[in-house]
Symmetry: C2
Subunit: 145 residues, 2 copies
């Protein structure tokens, strides 16, 4: 199965999620928060081959089960470097047409702030929390790639 850039954009409009996760860290000092970015495409297991085709297209990411009964799977990328160097440039070059575009632009804005280290400051974190609040968020459980 060979996917094209336009097909991927159309598919991600409906099936993709750009997520900003802000979690309380247990390992660092009390009260500190960790910002993580996460991109995923979710499918029923009967379409798992599409998730592997996305992984092959981008050359990064994981395909993993999202549910205990293995009925729902996802192709996901949480490594910042891969998001910053591969996923974000892809969706800058290949425009989304639905409101998913605005989620992507907010996701990209957080990545720019993280690149400048602003997520480690109080002001930067407050700004990221504001941006995240305006996104169509779903609960993201982030595992390492």
């Amino acid at each position: 199965m060979k996917l094209t850039k336009d097909w991927i954009c159309g598919f991600v409009e409906g099936e993709g999620t750009f997520c900003v996760s802000i979690t309380q860290t247990l390992t660092k000092k009390e009260g500190s928060k960790q910002v993580r970015l996460y991109f995923k495409v979710t499918q029923h297991k009967k379409n798992i081959q599409v998730l592997y085709a996305l992984k092959a297209f981008f050359g990064v990411g994981l395909v993993k089960s999202q549910t205990k009964d293995d009925s729902v799977w996802e192709f996901s990328i949480s490594r910042f470097e891969h998001l910053d160097k591969i996923i974000i440039p892809f969706f800058v070059a290949n425009t989304l047409h639905t409101s998913k575009k605005f989620d992507f632009l907010r996701f990209r804005k957080v990545a720019l702030l993280m690149n400048r280290g602003e997520h480690l400051t109080e002001d930067g974190l407050a700004m990221i929390e504001k941006i995240r609040h305006r996104m169509n968020t779903t609960v993201c459980i982030i595992e390492e790639e």
Copy 2:
């Protein structure tokens, strides 16, 4: 907004529905059934411009509200001639990659049977009911274009 064929395919994988509807007709003799085909793409109203772009691309169909509160809209085609001459040839030429493809192939098979008038025979209708049973159907409320 200019949509490409590949983008439309990717979008329809997640957001499109190929539907075969079998209804009891009130106007014809008791017990007779009517077979209707229906293709739709559903979106939140915030993405209504994409539905109008689909209508412009195919040159047929309707954009209409699906809910009383106008929060969900659809681009839909129910006129057999438009499905037979425009939508089906489009998805024959532009392959779907997910299980939506199998729904489309069943939808196309019913269209072929209808073209031969087999939906008006008992055997043909039984065959169409079997095909429909294997599809991922949603409830379809069909209005005239």
